[in-house]
């Protein structure tokens, strides 16, 4: 039992010399102020569990559950310890042991991840339901004072922060190719994802407009699905592997020069598909090939640009790094360079822009109060910049920051948008 964890994670965990250089980078160490909430502490606990000195469910699970998975620790580690791998192995082991006695919350999460997220059609219907609730005004009921007593606090915040869902007809069509404007410079396949495709597809629209504007032909391969990151983070490695295979097949058929990602977390998951098939050289090779083609939209726009900006109002913006875009894909410069090119825009850097906002996939749903402690601190840093627009490159961060804006009572003077949406606005697209 413990040997499974030993085999999967011990080698990687044992590479940590516990120097502590990761401590200043860790958002949960900062907010919780104890060593079991630090990367070094968590790695040590994985080691202890692998050695059988502590219990996986009773002792290891709480500190592992409270990790955001932002992987800022990996970016600063002087020894390149693979924290992501250690974390995944621990989560997987927790799921295996937990499956004997699942908690009600786990069951619901897992049911959704297994039966809803892998199916774009089902997700789209949920998205349409969301639009109905928004348009009919039913969702506005959460703004009434009494609603707080009926609904958990976290859900009322999510309902308020959710951007307006456009009509279903505006969704991208799977299997469709959007031609380049002017001379065709490249063929790009867009990764649509799950939540982005079902609910936040306005960002996809903006992404396609920008890419075609700089001369990319954009294909939206049919057969693609959720990247599997959420599953992996919940320790459902088998599910993640199934989804990865479907995506690898769908994108191989498309034969694009690049795969464009506009969600930092999904892009990072695809970049690391190779790790899922450690025992299978053929799938590993296919996964690596796919990963090699993946680029964040900001990188592609910078390479094919310049974008056709139009004059717009003077605006102060700030950019929040998506952890997985920065720490796993190592993309931090391109979005900033693009923002600095926009006429009338001043990019005001916030202190700690590279620190997690507390979104962490569905961490904010599962660990609401811990997440809000990190978010409220983040919003202080945002406020200091005087920005009217908070820009990010990942749907989870955008929602989380909008929740932060709602909590700060600043929704009249500030909004949170995706980089693509903001750039498209400023190109008049």
């Amino acid at each position: 039992m413990t040997n499974r964890l030993y085999e999967k994670a011990y080698e990687a965990a044992n590479a940590c010399v516990q120097c502590g250089y990761c401590l200043p980078a860790c958002p949960t160490y900062a907010s919780m102020g104890k060593e079991s909430a630090s990367p070094r502490g968590r790695i040590h606990l994985v080691k202890m569990a692998a050695e059988g000195k502590i219990d996986v469910l009773r002792d290891l699970r709480p500190p592992i559950d409270l990790c955001l998975g932002c992987r800022a620790c990996e970016a600063v580690c002087p020894l390149n310890v693979r924290y992501g791998k250690i974390l995944e192995a621990a989560r997987e082991e927790i799921v295996v042991q937990q499956s004997a006695r699942p908690a009600p919350g786990d069951r619901l999460t897992r049911m959704l991840l297994k039966n809803v997220f892998p199916h774009p059609g089902r997700l789209r219907r949920l998205g349409d339901l969301g639009r109905f609730l928004q348009v009919s005004g039913l969702l506005r009921l959460v703004r009434f004072p009494g609603a707080n007593r009926l609904l958990p606090e976290r859900l009322t915040y999510f309902a308020k922060a959710l951007p307006a869902i456009p009509p279903a007809g505006e969704r991208l069509r799977f299997g469709h190719v959007y031609p380049a404007k002017g001379k065709r410079k490249a063929r790009v396949a867009l990764f649509a994802g799950c939540v982005m495709d079902a609910v936040m597809f306005r960002i996809h629209r903006a992404t396609v407009s920008l890419l075609t504007a700089v001369g990319a032909e954009v294909a939206v391969p049919a057969g693609q699905c959720c990247c599997g990151a959420l599953h992996l983070h919940q320790g459902m490695t088998d599910e993640a592997r199934k989804l990865a295979r479907r995506n690898i097949e769908a994108f191989e058929r498309c034969e694009a020069d690049w795969i464009a990602g506009n969600a930092g977390g999904c892009g990072a998951a695809i970049k690391e598909y190779g790790r899922l098939f450690a025992d299978d050289p053929e799938w590993t090779a296919r996964a690596r090939r796919l990963a090699g083609k993946l680029k964040d939209i900001s990188e592609i726009l910078l390479e094919l640009g310049p974008l056709p900006f139009v004059n717009g109002p003077e605006t102060v913006v700030t950019y929040q790094d998506s952890c997985h875009l920065l720490n796993v894909q190592r993309v931090g410069r391109a979005p900033r360079v693009l923002l600095e090119q926009v006429p009338g825009v001043r990019l005001a850097e916030m202190e700690g822009a590279d620190r997690c906002c507390g979104s962490g996939g569905i961490y904010n749903l599962l660990h609401f109060s811990e997440s809000m402690a990190i978010l409220d601190e983040k919003m202080e840093r945002v406020r200091e910049t005087g920005a009217e627009v908070v820009i990010s490159g990942n749907p989870g961060c955008i929602l989380q920051l909008q929740i932060g804006i709602e909590r700060a009572g600043a929704s009249r003077r500030m909004r949170s948008v995706h980089l693509a949406e903001f750039l498209a606005e400023r190109c008049g697209l």
């Binding site: 401590l23 079991s36 709480p62 020894l79």
Partner: protein, 468 residues
Amino acid sequence: MGMEKQAVWLKDLFDIFPKERVLTDLADRHAYSFDASMGEYLPVAVVQPQSKEQIQRLVRLANSHRIPLYPRGSASSLSGGPLPVYGGVVVDMSAYPKRLTIDTENMLAIATPSVITAELHRKAEEAGLFYPPDPSSSSVSTLGGNLMENAGGPKGLKYGTTKDYVIGLEVVTPTGEIIRTGGKTVKNVTGYDLTRLLVGSEGTLGIVTEAILRLIPKPRARRTVMAAFPRFEDSGYALTRILGAQILPSAMEVMDEYCIRAVEEYEPSGLPLDAEAILIIEVDGHPAAVEEEAAQCEAICREHGAALVRAAATAEEQAQIWKARRLISPAIARLGPTKISEDATVPRGRIPDMMKRLRQIREKYRLNLVVFGHAGDGNLHPNILTDRRNAEEMARVEKAIGEIFAAAIELGGTLSGEHGIGLMKKPFMEMELGKEGVDMMRKIKEAWDPNNIMNPGKIFPDRNEADR
């Protein structure tokens, strides 16, 4: 220590601290069982004091129940300083309230022990001032930890170490008194210099709750020179000549051939693979002086056979040179998962002899032993890369470490330049200080801490009856 007795005082901790500041979960206890050295000891509980009064009450409780207390900063110690070797209570001072005041008029900093060293560096620089002690862990280490271990770093030769900057302390003593030592003046000869006694006492004589630190004007310019020598001895001659030319570099780092190869294999940057030594020399001060001195350093290195000399003026060029030094850690980590980092220090002139001895030890015990360090002050860092799961190799490692200590002392040096004695070097104390020397230190410890509750099990060699 029976279970029943333990339960009695465990309950008492909650009378002193709010319950969120007493950690007793198994996971939390394990998370405070280690530092950056190899040891691992499980405490009974961890507390996070928020005031000196809480610490005072804790210390009094510890005296009445004989509870071992283990004060700790960020636990980046390489000598086992904060390890709770007899269980007891880890006192997590990294969670103590952080207060830092820069007094520009008197060129002082007044800080609580939880302030991170790099934060002091930043705040001092904002005021045009400078706090030189710069251990490589400065981005995580606490000032409290630095003080207790008397931390050094690459700037020791020109600027000294932590002890040269601490002029006043507020301390909770091992018997629970709150005392102040020194003060806000650089000159102070009122009574014994307890400040100096406490700095470097490895947490055995009390828990610091405030420190007064001296700052100096920030040097206006800085230049860096890197030189690669085909023969190790030549790097030593070059070093002596530079100092002989009345140049006092702010840093003089050396790396040996095994480091060079490891770094170059890890990330090729054009370091010569046939070099036996690389020196990185940094001079700081007035811009005009710095320029002249850097040119002189370059010329001297060339005269002494350096095959490659690189000079850096801009910040980026400097960063490029320091990168080679920074890459040592990840590069040598690939030689083995367990890293044992020593800091035996010899008089500067004996560095070539020490290098020769280290090479012999490397060959005799067939180990991955690499050497880098602060050549200017004779503070070398022999690092052994091994695997703690390999019992046979660990036995050789232990013997090799003993021989490294013996060599340093024979050459007129010391067991530890900056990491502290902690656990691993305890048995060698008499070798350096003699029985009488160790006894004198022990008497001080016994006078301050009659019940031996403050970081017991450190520094002093175990007696027959052990410390407890």
